[in-house]
Symmetry: C2
Amino acid sequence: MTSFHVRPLVASLVTFALAASAFGQGGRASQSQPTIPPLPIPSMERYREAAGRIIGAALVDSAAYDRLAYLSDRIGHRLSGSPQLEQAVDWAVAEMRKDGLDNVRKERVMVPHWVRGEESAELLEPVRRPIVMLGVGNSVGTPPEGITADVVVVRNFAELETLGEQVRGKIVLYNVPFTTYGETVQYRGSGASRAAKYGAAAVLVRSVGPVSLRTPHTGALGYTEGVPKIPAAAVTIEDAETMARMQGRGERIRVQLKMGARMLPDAESANVIAELRGTERPDEIVLVGGHLDSWDVGTGSVDDGGGCVATWHAVRLLKRLGLTPRRTIRVVLWTNEENGGRGAEAYAKDHAAEIRNHVLAIESDGGVFKPRGFGLTANDRARATAKGIAALLEAIEANRIGDNGIQADTAPLIRQGVPGMGLDVDGTHYFDIHHTPADTMDKIDRHELALCVATLAVMAYVVADLPERLGQ
Amino acid sequence: MTSFHVRPLVASLVTFALAASAFGQGGRASQSQPTIPPLPIPSMERYREAAGRIIGAALVDSAAYDRLAYLSDRIGHRLSGSPQLEQAVDWAVAEMRKDGLDNVRKERVMVPHWVRGEESAELLEPVRRPIVMLGVGNSVGTPPEGITADVVVVRNFAELETLGEQVRGKIVLYNVPFTTYGETVQYRGSGASRAAKYGAAAVLVRSVGPVSLRTPHTGALGYTEGVPKIPAAAVTIEDAETMARMQGRGERIRVQLKMGARMLPDAESANVIAELRGTERPDEIVLVGGHLDSWDVGTGSVDDGGGCVATWHAVRLLKRLGLTPRRTIRVVLWTNEENGGRGAEAYAKDHAAEIRNHVLAIESDGGVFKPRGFGLTANDRARATAKGIAALLEAIEANRIGDNGIQADTAPLIRQGVPGMGLDVDGTHYFDIHHTPADTMDKIDRHELALCVATLAVMAYVVADLPERLGQ
């Protein structure tokens, strides 16, 4: 997942901003005030046998793992505009057809096409040494000869503001230790424009992650309109701390930054859609999905190959088990979540006429580690029902229903009143590898992935099959 | 530390082999049989006040941390033959003189001069993708055009032996998960020659470490005489697992390996020596030390800049506190531990005449994390005394006396009967960063380093000051 969106251009942190706001609690998606006493949790005993079949079948099935391994190993990373992303789109369509899913199709989306190009950073003073870096997504490049300038290390925006015009012509290094993603990612997201306001030549950003083995994390930035666009690169915790110590000793720090990054004309991509058509109310939709694009490092196995494969295979599993619910379950593999959000935008726009038919939108974009349940943004009646369904997942300890169900690609739907759920997993190590070359298949545990498939399948199936529509 | 030594050429794992052998218990260093009941532990109450002064002073002193930061940040990594190693040697001599230590000097040592050169590895089939790698130290290079061959993945030597001649002309990948260092490092150390016996063209070795963020670990190999020398490179856990999955799917794997590695003529280096001369028996020596050389990645802050700085600053602290013991405490910063052991060999040879005057040899080469005490290779009388001294370190929880006191650079002395101690620390994360670009200053905790200084200083001081010689 990313939490930084560049459209609109005003710096925004959609997922986390939404998570932190009152929207999830008081917005259109959740119109009722807290009820005391809470609504009774309805029994879902009649679905217990189906849940058992789903869980058991998921645990002995290797299709999800094998498909994610193929996506990771053979297709690899999938940045918007890359041939790999379109290869992944076509592969998913072909495989979904093999699975016998209904209405398998691509829905065309034009996506931003940012390319990294050749890039490097070198410490020139007080010693000459390469700096491990990754350009920040959407960043402009440097001139071919690079930008060579003194470095000023700051620990937060307050220090930048205090320095003000003293950073003119310099490279600002934000050496900000990771606290939460939402808090720390602001330096990557808006640090360039905030330093550019004072005339900085470029920025380096300490990678947004809690630990490092000389590990750079990329991700997107957004430029503020009316402020010069300057290049931005992520550096490792190790190199950021080294420069901070150098500054602390009063040493002059000079760095040469070279980035061939550039934005090309929009490229053609697609959301991938497949369905398990409902038996009684096929026009009512329970949506499940993840995003198929990734950053251009690692193989995007966790972010968000896992979410795509888990949601897709939840539906595949229901199909195989002959568990066809009353309503339609639709898988959406969005494109361009990482650096534009165009897939989510296009889906909401193209399906505007049927948005009211979306009973629930479930997204998995926080990794496919051991599932704990779901976050939910919906009214109290929906929450009570969700808790009833989640009780079916108690045996695999995935029965939590938390407060926030908004994730990046479902946000446009939830904003229009669709109840939203996000798969909730043990994210302890998610940000260790997030947007790094280490987001690879070995980070996926076969059993945990199977548990995610089971958790998604049980929730989607029961919501899609209940006689009454969720929340009504 | 390294545990793989290339001299003698027969593959050997000096430290760990010694640790595992009966030598530590039954060799010349430990001539008495276990005594029942054990010898009484002598009281060291008369040193309690001195221990308190040492511990307190160490905890408020930042000299060790600052010096290690300078070594890391300004000098950087220090492979044998590199200008940085000699810069570190000269810097240490100059700083030790500033500290007012006695007899500060360099003792010349000729060291192997292996250079990495340009290197890369690329997966060509089933997909084209760069492989993150580090050539293994002492490896030969490839022809300039590289070696392009099919890859065969094995999980252990038994699988290699079963394949036998089937690996001829191929690149063998040892995909061996980390268990213990001593066990797993054999694949890096002797894997090249073992595959070359069957005609392999080159080997790739899964990096010897328990975790990875696409992190390659270098380290040394030793070639077996009479077998062709083939190139060897370490790859990350991620890339090793990727190739293993590809083989599992029946995919043909082709890799191009390019290594500019070569061995140049021996270079001049030096052990650095400084002393705190004893008041009554200056010819009797308590030796403390670490190795100043490192691998040519990261900054060798943990392996073994920390050991050098901690042992040196233990002595510096005693000097500053006016705690001059009866015997001499000698700091030795060995050269060439990582890829030759020539510093340790030279010290033992150059000081052959006074080896019997070495009362104890203490080495710190396992990191300067939270100290737990010492490993000890000595007779039972020495062990009882060491336990008495260690009791003075109870307040900082560094009072363990374990069984094995042999480390790489003290091994030649211990082999000749000198009692040996190794600083014992919490090594939980030592192998995460060992021989990697992530062995950097940020891995050093200021407080833990200070505790190491205190632990070393108390032990060295008391052993050097006791009326009776240790173990007699």
